[in-house]
Every structure is written in structure tokens, then in C-alpha cells.
């Protein structure tokens, strides 16, 4: 699918000054009133700029509500930014929405499926929407699902009978089936048991090493980010507070008790102040 869209000579992802705010509703409001009837808007993403190179695994870390998922939704054409622009391989997400859609796919924290359908039925449905034929989708799905550790019989049983970890693996297979050049992974391993998490991470490493895929990964798992990401941005209150390689980020924090700082130390140092402030209040 993505082969038909030009992807040469461009940065995989360019985000420039993107801002997104929401008006939290606590009751009725007229749908056409954009100002939220005088309610104060909440800024979810605040003038974020970054770029991701082709083939790079780029991580976004941040506390809950820091704007990670909102930013991913803006890239995935599911939200329209209020300000700024986003382009995927040179294609603007607003002006060339369809071209961008062909180049990307997304795995979110919730494995969203038709739960009564089997993984195979869900995957064939998803693949058809991306122009992949049923036979090709079936063959690839079997291969990927088995690679991710799903037993053959589970592939033909309703999704509702599967554990969350299994469902998340099917979600990754769904995204992989369409062969996206930019893969958006929004907390793909959150809530998975250690074994499932390890299997998913191994698959992502394999994907990074063997396929022409650029990956944008949001996660709360510092070890995962450290192991998988080439560069990491830390987002807090919608703003990027640091952006560097894992080693570069660790260099921002002084050694304590003779130990090398971890990404968790960096995360706490750069976003932890708010926690203290909230407790004080």
C-alpha cells in the first residue's frame, strides 16, 4: 500500500509548533460553540516541535496526561491540531490526509477489536481497508501471530476469549499487516505481563532491524524506552522538557550514591517536581 506514496528524500516525521487544546465539558454545551461557552480550555499539547529520521525508533516519555496520546492522535489524523503542522515523509497530515493514512498505522494502549470476531476475522477486515487481499492477509496474519507466540487454535476463536496480552499482540499484528512505514505505538506494552511484554519488545526489535519502518513509541516503561529507542523526548504538561539519546538524557542528571543515573532518574528529575507541588497543595 505505502509503496504507491512518495517517501523518498524526506524526514519520516516533522512536527512543528503543534498545539492542541480541549474544552472540558461538565454539562450541556452547544456543539457549534468552539469557545466552550466561556469554559477555560486545557492545553494538551503545547507548541511541540520535533523530527524523526527514517528508520529511527523515537520514544516519547511523559506522565499520565502529559499529551503523549494527543500528539500521536494528531499524527494519526484522528485529531486536528489547533496550531502548527505535521508531515509524514513530506506529506502534510491535513492537506494530504489520505497519503499519510497509507503510510502509517497505530497501536494504542487499548487493543480495540470486534470482540466477538476471531483474530483472523478482525485482521482480514483491517487488512481489506488498507487494500490487502484476504488471502495475502490470512497468510501474513498466521505468520505474524505465530511469531508473536499465539497458538494456531487461538487465532480462530473469538477475541473475547483471549487475555489482554494476547489481544495486544493481535493489535500489533494488525498494524504490521498493512506494512506501515511509520508505526505509531502508543503504550503498546502497558498492562502486559512480563513474558508478553518481552515477546512484544522482541518483535519490535526485529521489526526495527529487518524492516524499513520508523517507529514512534510512547511508553511508561523506562527500560523499554532505554532498550528500544534511538532518541527520546520527555513531555510534561504538553511541552517537551528534554530531547536526546538515552545516554544524553542520562548525562543530564548527576550520579547519586555512586550509581549511574537511569532513565527513571531523568524522568523523575524532569517531571517529578509537579508531583511534589501537587502533594504540597
Amino acid at each position: 500500500m505505502s509503496a504507491m506514496i512518495s517517501t523518498t528524500g524526506h524526514m519520516a516525521l516533522e512536527i512543528s509548533g503543534v498545539t492542541k487544546q480541549f474544552v472540558k465539558s461538565d454539562g450541556f454545551r452547544w456543539p457549534w460553540k468552539r469557545d466552550g461557552n466561556g469554559r477555560k480550555p486545557v492545553v494538551a499539547v503545547d507548541h511541540v516541535s520535533l523530527h524523526v529520521q527514517r528508520g529511527e525508533v523515537f520514544g516519547i516519555l511523559g506522565p499520565n496526561g502529559s499529551g503523549k496520546s494527543t500528539l500521536v492522535r494528531c499524527i494519526a489524523t484522528l485529531l486536528l491540531p489547533d496550531e502548527g503542522c505535521i508531515s509524514v515523509f513530506g506529506h502534510d497530515v491535513l492537506r494530504e490526509e489520505m497519503a499519510v493514512k497509507r503510510l502509517i498505522n497505530r497501536v494504542s494502549v487499548e487493543a480495540s477489536f470486534f470482540k466477538k470476531l476471531t483474530p483472523m476475522e478482525n485482521l482480514i477486515y483491517g487488512a481489506r481497508l488498507y487494500g490487502v487481499g484476504a488471502r495475502q492477509a490470512r497468510e501474513r496474519a498466521l505468520e505474524v501471530l505465530q511469531r508473536l507466540g499465539l497458538k494456531r487454535e487461538a487465532i480462530f476463536r473469538p477475541m473475547e476469549e483471549m487475555s489482554r496480552g494476547m489481544q495486544q499482540k493481535v493489535a500489533i499484528a494488525r498494524a504490521f499487516l498493512t506494512q506501515p512505514i511509520l508505526l505509531l505505538l502508543d503504550e503498546p506494552t502497558t498492562g502486559l505481563d512480563p513474558r508478553s511484554k518481552r515477546e512484544v519488545q522482541a518483535f519490535l526489535e526485529e521489526l526495527r532491524d529487518t524492516h524499513d519502518a520508523t517507529i514512534l513509541l510512547t511508553t511508561h516503561d523506562m527500560q523499554e524506552a532505554d532498550a528500544l529507542c534511538d532518541r527520546i523526548a520527555i513531555l510534561d504538561e504538553g511541552q517537551i522538557v528534554a530531547l536526546d539519546t538515552p545516554a544524553g538524557l542520562k548525562a543530564l542528571v548527576p550520579r547519586s550514591n555512586g550509581h549511574e543515573p537511569t532513565l527513571e532518574d531523568v524522568f523523575m528529575e524532569l517531571t517529578g517536581k509537579r508531583l511534589v507541588k501537587e502533594v504540597d497543595e
Binding site: 474544552v23 494527543t70 484522528l78 477489536f113 476475522e121
Partner: protein
């Protein structure tokens, strides 16, 4: 050409997915079918009992057919309307809405797939109900123009697809109660369209509303074809009126939906929880 094949393939994805879901929710389908049959029979028995209730001589066969056409046509149109208007509510409930909206397909392709399923499902469902109800009554269809009836139903589907697309905007804009709001539209159409009674018995101020409802024309056409045996030529004006309403309603529905989608993407309402 490749693009066209992809769009057809994508439309078929919705048809296949929905029939797979029908298979998996078979328990619900049985209950829904039983309810629909019981409902159709209850209404049709009113016709069978009209003579006993009024104590006056009535053309019972005509009365039964009059009510049967009303209940079947309404059932079919309601199924088409429900399936089209609930496509958003359903996906929101399953949590798949963002994945469908992220897919590289036009909204037209999405709607074609959903409406194709709705029409086929509606025809199958209504056919089964007709088959069962026919076992209870000695229906005299010797004068009926069955082909004209089917033509009228198909032409009427177009306008109901358009209305359904407009109604599907409600679950998009109001994630919590939008699906229920679509029932208000159905209730109003049921009231003014002369489903179980002639439009002429409505208060004068309501009668112009009946002329705005495509269901009124579908019912008039169906009754002319099945009760009076009107030829397809005679039905031409009704058919062209229905096609015209459909040709206007579908693009208008799509345009309204596009605006609603844009609004939902601005405000974050595509998200499952709204």
C-alpha cells in the same frame, strides 16, 4: 483502476465484517427476528379482527394487506435506517472507531459498504417475516404487482440511506446519548408517514410533514402495487420522486457527515469515551 479495486475491496470489508458479526450475535438475531415477527403478526391481526371489533362488514383481506404492507415496509426501512445510523454508535461501543477512521478509505466507500449490508440484511429479514406472516393468513396477492413493489422498496432505500447517514452524525457528536437520539427521528417518521393509517386522518397541519417524509411515498407506492395492482408505469411518478429524494439525501448526508467528522476531530470526540 487499482484505487477503484481497493475501494470496492474496502467496501466489501464492511459487508463481510457485519455478516460475521450477525453470525456471532446469533442469539440476538433470533430474539430480534422473533420480536419482529410477533410485532408484524400483532399489527396484522388488527386487520383480521376489525370486522369483529366494529361489527360492520369490512374488506378484511384488504385491511390485512394494508397493515401488512405498513408493518413490512416500516420494518425494512427501520432496519436500513438503524444499520446506517448506528454504524458510529456500534464502532464506538466496540472501541474500533478510531481504527476505521484512520484507514485510508473515503467516507463514501465506508458508507457504501455499510449501506450495502443494511439493504441486503433488511431484505432478508423482511422476507423471513413475510414468509412467516403469510402462513397465518390467506393472503390474496392475485392482483399484486410484486415487481413494482420491489422497485418501490429499492428506490425508497436510497432516501433512507441518506437520512440514516444524517442520523449517524448524532452518535458522532453526542457520544453518550447520540444513538438514542436517532430513535426520535424514526418515531417522527413513523407518526407522519401513514404507516398504519392514511395520511388524510392526520390533523391538517401535520399533513404537509407527511409530504416531506420519503416513507410516505414508499408506502403509497407499495400499497398501489400490492393492493391495487398498479402497473410499473403508473408507479413511475412515485419512483422518480423517491429516486430524486435519494439522490439529494445521500450527498447531503455525506456532506453533513464530513462536517461532523471534522468537528469530532477538532474536539476529540472520536475517542472511545468521548
Amino acid at each position: 483502476m487499482t484505487q477503484l479495486v481497493n475501494e470496492i475491496c474496502a467496501s466489501y470489508a464492511f459487508v463481510e465484517r457485519n455478516f460475521n458479526l450477525v453470525k456471532r450475535y446469533w442469539g440476538w438475531e433470533v430474539v430480534w427476528l422473533a420480536y419482529s415477527i410477533a410485532n408484524a403478526l400483532s399489527i396484522t391481526f388488527i386487520g383480521a379482527g376489525a370486522e369483529a371489533v366494529t361489527g360492520q362488514a369490512i374488506d378484511t383481506n384488504h385491511m390485512i394487506l394494508y397493515l401488512l404492507v405498513g408493518t413490512l415496509v416500516w420494518h425494512y426501512l427501520a432496519v436500513v435506517f438503524d444499520n446506517v445510523s448506528e454504524m458510529i454508535a456500534w464502532e464506538r461501543w466496540e472501541g474500533t472507531i478510531e481504527y476505521t477512521f484512520m484507514a485510508p478509505i473515503s467516507r463514501f466507500t465506508h458508507m457504501v459498504g455499510q449501506t450495502l449490508f443494511s439493504v441486503v440484511y433488511g431484505l432478508l429479514h423482511t422476507g423471513i417475516i413475510l414468509g412467516v406472516v403469510a402462513l397465518f393468513f390467506q393472503l390474496d396477492l392475485s392482483r399484486a404487482n410484486l415487481f413494482g413493489g420491489v422497485l418501490t422498496l429499492v428506490a425508497g432505500s436510497l432516501s433512507f440511506i441518506g437520512l440514516g447517514i444524517v442520523a449517524s452524525v448524532l452518535p458522532l457528536l453526542f457520544p453518550e446519548r447520540g444513538a438514542q437520539m436517532t430513535h426520535v427521528i424514526q418515531a417522527l417518521l413513523l407518526l407522519v408517514s401513514g404507516v398504519y393509517f392514511p395520511v388524510s386522518v392526520l390533523p391538517e397541519w401535520m399533513q404537509p410533514l407527511a409530504r416531506l417524509s420519503p416513507a410516505t411515498y414508499v408506502l403509497e407506492g407499495m400499497r398501489s402495487a400490492l393492493l391495487d395492482g398498479a402497473s410499473s408505469g403508473t408507479l413511475l411518478s412515485t419512483l422518480s420522486r423517491l429516486v430524486l429524494i435519494g439522490v439529494i439525501a445521500i450527498p447531503v448526508g455525506l456532506a453533513v457527515f464530513r462536517q461532523a467528522e471534522k468537528y469530532a476531530k477538532c474536539t476529540g470526540k472520536l475517542k472511545r469515551s468521548g
